[in-house]
């Protein structure tokens, strides 16, 4: 038994190291366009991974992740515009904003289950969209906010300006760190309780776990990492815009999850990559109507491949 486990972990960590090394080397060998694209895929992957905590592990489909993502963006923008152009301050503001919003959403939405939860999270994200869209004085309304990218520094020392390569490494480090952290959390007793809620909520409650508190914690954890993705996206693109609080981002997040394979943490990142690459391909033929073929592929995957691309490896990835 011990031997099998060892074999699994050697293969798993070797594969993990291979992927990370490939992503570290990648910006050095490809063109600027692909470098930016892969960085973007990593950010969308982080967003999708955060929502996988709810969809894949706790069994709650969130259609409102754009709220956390968008607040992360606006939080970063607020820190950079009002205070100093400091990367860590932007992170703190973005994460703080996302945490507050997540607490609010979690408190209300976790009273409901299944589809009701999905609809409620969707409606909450629209509330934040309307608020951000209409408070023109504060958020710039439709135009959003523009700011310049902060430099990378540790404790105010050695500030280095981000190039697209160093930004890629920074994003990669954050995403890999988040993956390892979330993987550990999902293996912890907390993660086990979430999976038990997914499998049988009534029984979990009967055993004595405070199910709603666990769910709230899950929504908040998920919202926090979605906010982190928002901060990264804001730093990459140097703006915050209401479009990114809008429902389409939440919808895309769900698509990444379903395409990549829920309940694997790694799958949603693959799903994001798959989606963005398909978008690139279809944009060539269908211009801005690329969502027509992509939507059809998505529907087909829901029907014929409900486990997603990595679904076959779900147990293996969670060992």
């Amino acid at each position: 038994m011990k031997k099998i486990h060892d074999h699994h972990s050697i293969v798993f960590w070797a594969g993990f190291a291979l992927v990370v090394v490939a992503l570290v080397v990648e910006p050095l060998v490809v063109t600027e366009y692909w470098r930016r694209l892969v960085t973007e895929i990593l950010i969308w992957g982080l967003l999708a991974m955060s929502s996988d905590i709810l969809i894949g592990y706790a069994g709650m489909v969130s259609f409102g992740h754009s709220a956390f993502f968008g607040i992360g963006m606006y939080g970063a923008a607020a820190a950079l515009l009002m205070f100093s152009p400091n990367l860590w301050l932007a992170l703190a503001f973005g994460l703080g904003g996302a945490a507050v919003v997540a607490l609010f959403v979690a408190y209300f939405s976790t009273r409901l289950r299944d589809i009701y939860f999905a609809i409620t999270t969707l409606i909450f994200s629209q509330i934040f969209y309307v608020i951000i869209f209409t408070s023109t004085d504060l958020t710039g309304g439709e135009n959003g906010l523009n700011f310049s990218r902060p430099a990378l520094s540790l404790f105010g020392l050695f500030p280095v300006r981000f190039t697209s390569t160093t930004l890629h490494w920074f994003v990669l480090a954050v995403v890999v760190g988040s993956y390892l952290f979330l993987r550990r959390v999902m293996h912890s007793p907390f993660g086990m309780v979430l999976q038990s809620i997914r499998e049988n909520e009534t029984r979990t409650r009967a055993i004595g776990y405070p199910v709603q508190r666990y769910k709230m914690a899950a929504v908040m954890l998920s919202g926090l990492f979605a906010g982190l993705a928002g901060v990264l996206y804001a730093i990459q693109n140097q703006f915050a815009a209401p479009d990114f609080v809008y429902f389409t981002i939440s919808g895309d997040t769900v698509i990444y999850n379903v395409m990549g394979g829920i309940g694997t943490l790694f799958g949603p990142i693959v799903g994001a990559g798959f989606f963005v690459l398909l978008r690139e391909v279809f944009s060539r033929f269908f211009t801005e109507y690329y969502l027509i073929p992509l939507g059809i592929i998505f529907i087909a995957m829901v029907i014929f491949l409900p486990q997603g691309l990595l679904g076959f490896a779900r147990r293996w990835l969670n060992r």
């Binding site: 939405s109 009273r111 409606i123 109507y289 027509i292 939507g295 059809i296």
Partner: protein
């Protein structure tokens, strides 16, 4: 105290009454959309994310038929039938394979459908909003406003469609089949009711109702490819506030929410008035998660 007195002295009574009429008119349209949504949910356990897109496509077909024939009423009927057929086709191809799976997968599938339909509409009709001209142009005086008769006609027509549908459910043979399927799918099947076709027909009817409301509502707002999402969101709110799968509750909630939004728009901009319905939703979820207009569950 002074502020309160001031409020009542300056209370815009005429505007309040105008907004009451407006609220009831929008409420009836919303009720028509929401009753299709709640019907599909109550009977099929399907959350139809594509409902707003069926509403939008219905309005577009109305635009096309109106341009070709010049008859609004013909446009209304054709749009309803075409979208009902489209609904049936969508149900057979995408939702039928999902019967028996987690209801959440139906959200995903209908979400995919909504993406495809929305982008299809953008591709086919372009980003510029189209206009449907009102079939009835008469107006009457309501305080300081010339109020169009057409708005009252829409409210009455929506009520008639919902009422006719209710009678059909209550007394028609097929309506009885539908109700039997809602209560117990397996038993209905055992009694010889063709359950898969009942489900298809329900989806078709719900889609047709969405299309009818799209054409009716077209003259009040422009028809464009994004109009679906706003309305489906409102309809979701109404369906949750009214109690999922409860037709009477949805209608009451539609009028209630629309009235509140209409009153709110006296003081704030219409874009912000939407927040009122969100607040209603939050309060409902907090205090009566089963819905405002359903009897207290035991």
């Amino acid at each position: 105290m002074g502020a309160v007195l001031d409020f009542f002295q300056n209370f815009p009574l005429d505007e309040f009454l105008i907004q009451t009429v407006n609220g009831v008119v929008t409420g009836m349209i919303l009720a028509l959309i929401a009753s299709g949504l709640t019907l599909i949910f109550g009977i099929m356990d399907v959350v139809n994310f594509a409902h707003g897109e069926l509403f939008m496509l219905g309005a577009y077909i109305g635009v096309v038929v109106l341009a070709a024939t010049g008859s609004f009423w013909l446009a209304l009927i054709v749009a309803t039938l075409v979208i009902a057929l489209l609904g049936a086709a969508l149900q057979i191809t995408t939702l039928r394979p999902l019967i028996g799976r987690d209801p959440l997968t139906t959200i995903l599938a209908t979400f995919g459908i909504s993406l495809v339909l929305q982008n299809y509409a953008l591709w086919q009709f372009g980003p510029v909003a189209r206009k449907i001209s009102e079939p009835i142009t008469g107006q009457f005086t309501l305080f300081y406003l010339q109020y169009p008769w057409y708005r009252l006609v829409i409210a009455a027509l929506s009520a008639a469609i919902i009422g006719g549908f209710y009678l059909f459910l209550k007394f028609g043979t097929f309506g009885i089949w539908i109700r039997a399927t809602t209560q117990d799918r397996t038993m209905a099947q055992a009694m010889g009711i063709p359950v898969p076709w009942v489900l298809t027909a329900v989806f078709a009817i719900g889609s047709g109702m969405a299309a009818a409301s799209g054409v009716l509502f077209g003259p009040l707002v422009g028809v464009d490819h994004t109009m679906g999402l706003d309305w489906v969101l409102k309809a979701f709110i109404v369906v949750v506030v009214g109690g999922m799968g409860n037709l009477g509750g949805s209608i009451a909630a539609a009028i209630f929410v629309s009235l509140l939004e209409a009153y709110a728009s006296i003081w704030v901009s219409p874009a912000q008035a939407v927040i009122v319905s969100f607040v209603v939703l939050i309060l409902t979820l907090l205090f009566r998660p089963t819905g405002l207009f359903v009897p207290t569950p035991k």
